[in-house]
């Protein structure tokens, strides 16, 4: 190859390379923008605030005492579900909620790290002792959903499965009339 040819081929190589680098950068920026758009436009962002709680006292006072766990109908028609995870179960073990209603899940752990995953949905959050997890959810269909613990919590982990029962709106309203915190128990 003559010096001139070498020079030309170096230029061609560099040009092709620059083109590909530009395409790669566009792909990367495009993905980041897509994630931002989905987060802001469809309001699917992680919980904005960090809230703390003391796992050694949650059974004594505060929002996670046993009598306050379960589903509650708020004044604005929304539902709040409070739950805790502990080795090796959830309380309530079976959550009951109405279909097609905005629901806020507030949960924490009483001991080690657990996770809540509701199969067939995008509901998926960690339960880290000391912190409160909050997640918004809405079920489009009635039925039973499995709710396994998705994080290793020592050797009973494989047995830690909860359930979510999504029922008719009217049914739920009927059961909520007497006030209190609802779970599948007593259905």
């Amino acid at each position: 190859m003559s010096a001139e040819e070498t020079h030309r081929s170096v230029e061609v190589a560099a040009r092709v390379e620059r083109r590909w680098a530009t395409i790669a950068v566009i792909i990367v920026v495009g993905m980041a923008l897509l994630a931002a758009f989905a987060g802001i436009h469809q309001a699917t962002m992680p919980q904005p605030r960090v809230e703390i709680t003391d796992p050694s006292r949650i059974h004594l006072s505060g929002e996670f005492v046993e009598s306050n766990l379960g589903s509650v109908l708020e004044a604005n028609g929304n539902i709040t579900v409070r739950a805790i995870g502990q080795q090796y179960s959830f309380t309530p073990a079976c959550i009951v909620v109405p279909v097609d209603t905005p629901i806020t899940l507030r949960a924490t752990s009483a001991d080690v790290v657990h996770g809540i995953l509701i199969q067939g949905t995008n509901v998926n959050t960690m339960l880290v002792p000391g912190y409160i997890s909050e997640q918004l959810m809405r079920f489009a269909e009635t039925g039973d959903y499995l709710m396994p613990c998705q994080e290793f919590c020592s050797f009973g982990h494989e047995g830690m499965w909860g359930k979510v029962k999504v029922i008719d709106k009217a049914d739920f309203a009927n059961r909520a009339k007497s006030g209190g915190r609802l779970s599948c128990v007593g259905q």
């Binding site: 680098a21 897509l34 994630a35 996770g115 960690m126």
Partner: protein, 540 residues
């Protein structure tokens, strides 16, 4: 010039021996939790096995491969005897002692905390000390790589550092810094509790420290593979590296952006706000860039080899490639797995898509495909390529080598594709058994069975790999000649300082880590009331 062959062989042999053990455990796990196994009466055994599998495959095996390969690169690329051989042996023995020290409490069921630690679960002190020894041993290697490069630079002022060594040192710096996160978690948080000096721990902060290590460690595992892509494959198949400077830019990008992205592992965690999660998500997208650049450069380099062999046409050249060459085969398999695994990674990178697969079997499938697949198959290729130079003997079983690579590829696909699928169905990770009698879980039984079969294919391939290397120790002697690396089409006579040194990029890596991790860590560390009681494993 490979002088310290014994040192390198010791690293490789210990790496592959522990790999064999961990692979066997992995195959057993796949089997025992599948419908073809019987329910484990003591699930705790599963978690012992899982902890051992993760600790070996995550910390010991890839670290030893990177170290052994690093010493080989230092001696052969710089054409300079290794400086600090005694220190290198010290590092090696620290890793051996650390591994044994960590494995004993695991085997006794005193450290079933998985390799990701998960405080407030606390295992036996010696497990953590063993892991610390492994890391300390590897840090000696980091220092030696820096020192050897320095010695070479003094003797060759201003000369371009050979690409293999430039990348190798970048990888070692990446490891040194990424290990700091887990080191802080161990030294400041876990070890004081395991030693009984404290009995509370901030689990949220520990998860942030660990995420610092957890993602960039994957890029440390990846480094030997990428070094092989750039500096071994083109030579082995008779081609040239398309671009030396693009290669350097890719390694620099890994060094800089692999670090400040780890919090995408904590998207679903309550102890970090949304802002930093978004920042880490965007940076995670950025780390796709060096891989996209690499895919282009390597495909172009391979095309050069094909055209030199008489390949023609837009795609016709692919047929002209030396497909019977194990290196070619390994590269192709590695790229296919990197493609699927990388696409999965881009899904994990966004909070919105991650929500449906976080902590499901999808994630396990993902990192097995990337690490066990794309990365480890190139570790095999590196070993095959180096072996004759280390032993002075020929690897004669080329057909067996090809079969082994094929089996690994097929096994990995059969294992991980169904794994991804059950993840989408919401099957959680790290479970010793599943109740396949539950109508909601029954449809996943077939997929889990396929994965278990894949596990046995992988085990077969792994055994073949070790047998091939062992037979290579007794094959007829040959003179393998000096170990060489691929050269570029336009081998640079000079390289800009920025592409020939690491200081600027290491500084940038540290600065980005501080901007992306500084506030969340400080904030959690200074918030009162976040420490929770430790839960000791084996005490229940």
């Amino acid at each position: 010039m490979l002088v310290n062959r014994k040192l390198i062989l010791a690293h490789f042999w210990f790496a592959f021996a522990v790999f064999g053990v961990a692979l066997t455990l992995g195959a057993w796990q796949m089997f025992i939790r599948s419908p073809i196994g019987t329910w484990l009466s003591n699930p705790e055994l599963y978690y012992r096995s899982l902890t051992a599998h993760g600790t070996v495959m995550g910390y010991v095996f890839p670290t030893l491969v990177a170290m052994g390969f690093g010493y080989a690169i230092s001696e052969s690329a710089l054409e300079q005897r290794l400086v600090g051989v005694r220190w290198a042996w010290t590092g090696f023995w620290l890793i051996v002692i650390g591994s044994v020290m960590a494995v004993i409490p695991i085997a006794l069921g005193r450290a079933s905390v998985l390799y990701t630690f998960y405080p407030p679960l606390i295992g036996n002190l010696f497990y953590y000390l063993g892991v610390v020894l492994v890391v300390v041993g590897s840090w000696i290697w980091v220092a030696l790589m820096a020192i050897n490069l320095r010695v070479w630079r003094k003797a060759h002022p201003g000369a371009p550092v050979p690409l293999a060594m430039f990348a190798n040192v970048a990888g070692s710096y990446l490891w040194a810094w990424t290990a700091v996160g887990a080191a802080l978690e161990l030294l400041l948080q876990i070890i004081p509790v395991a030693a009984g000096l404290k009995n509370t721990i901030d689990a949220g902060l520990a998860r942030i420290f660990f995420s610092w290590t957890l993602h960039a460690i994957v890029y440390f595992w990846l480094m030997p593979t990428y070094i092989a892509y750039y500096t071994i494959v083109p030579r082995a198949i008779g081609g040239r590296v398309y671009s030396d400077s693009m290669a350097r830019i890719s390694f620099i990008l890994f060094l800089v952006v692999a670090m400040p992205i780890g919090m995408h592992h904590t998207f679903a965690d309550p102890q970090v706000g949304a802002g930093f999660k978004f920042v880490h998500s965007a940076f995670t997208a950025l780390v796709a860039l060096p891989t996209l650049l690499t895919v282009f450069t390597i495909c172009a380099s391979v095309e050069i080899a094909a055209r030199l062999r008489g390949g023609r046409g837009l795609f016709g050249w692919i047929r002209a490639l030396p497909w019977d060459n194990p290196m070619m085969l390994a590269l192709a398999f590695s790229f296919v797995m990197l493609g699927f695994g990388g696409a999965g990674g881009l899904i994990n990178m966004s909070y919105q898509l991650d929500a449906s697969i976080h902590n499901t079997q999808w994630i396990t499938g993902h990192f097995h495909l990337i690490f066990g697949g794309a990365i480890v198959i190139m570790y095999f290729a590196i070993a095959y390529d180096l072996w004759p130079h280390l032993t002075g003997r020929e690897l004669i079983d080329v057909r067996l080598i090809r079969t082994q690579l094929w089996l690994w590829f097929v096994g990995m696909i059969v294992t991980t594709f169904p794994w991804h699928w059950v993840g989408i169905l919401g099957m959680p990770r790290r479970m010793a058994y599943f109740d396949f009698g539950d109508p909601a879980i029954a449809p996943q039984a077939l997929s889990v069975t396929f994965s278990a079969i894949g596990g046995f294919i992988l085990l077969t391939s792994g055994i073949m790999f070790i047998v091939i290397l062992a037979r290579g120790m007794r094959a007829p002697q040959i003179d393998a000649g000096p170990y060489r690396f691929a050269i570029a089409v336009h081998q640079p006579a000079t390289v800009p300082v920025a592409l020939n040194t690491h200081a600027l990029w290491v500084a940038l890596m540290i600065v980005l880590t501080i901007t992306n991790y500084g506030y969340p860590i400080l904030n959690l560390a200074t918030t009162a009331g976040t420490s929770v009681p430790a839960v000791y494993v084996g005490a229940q």
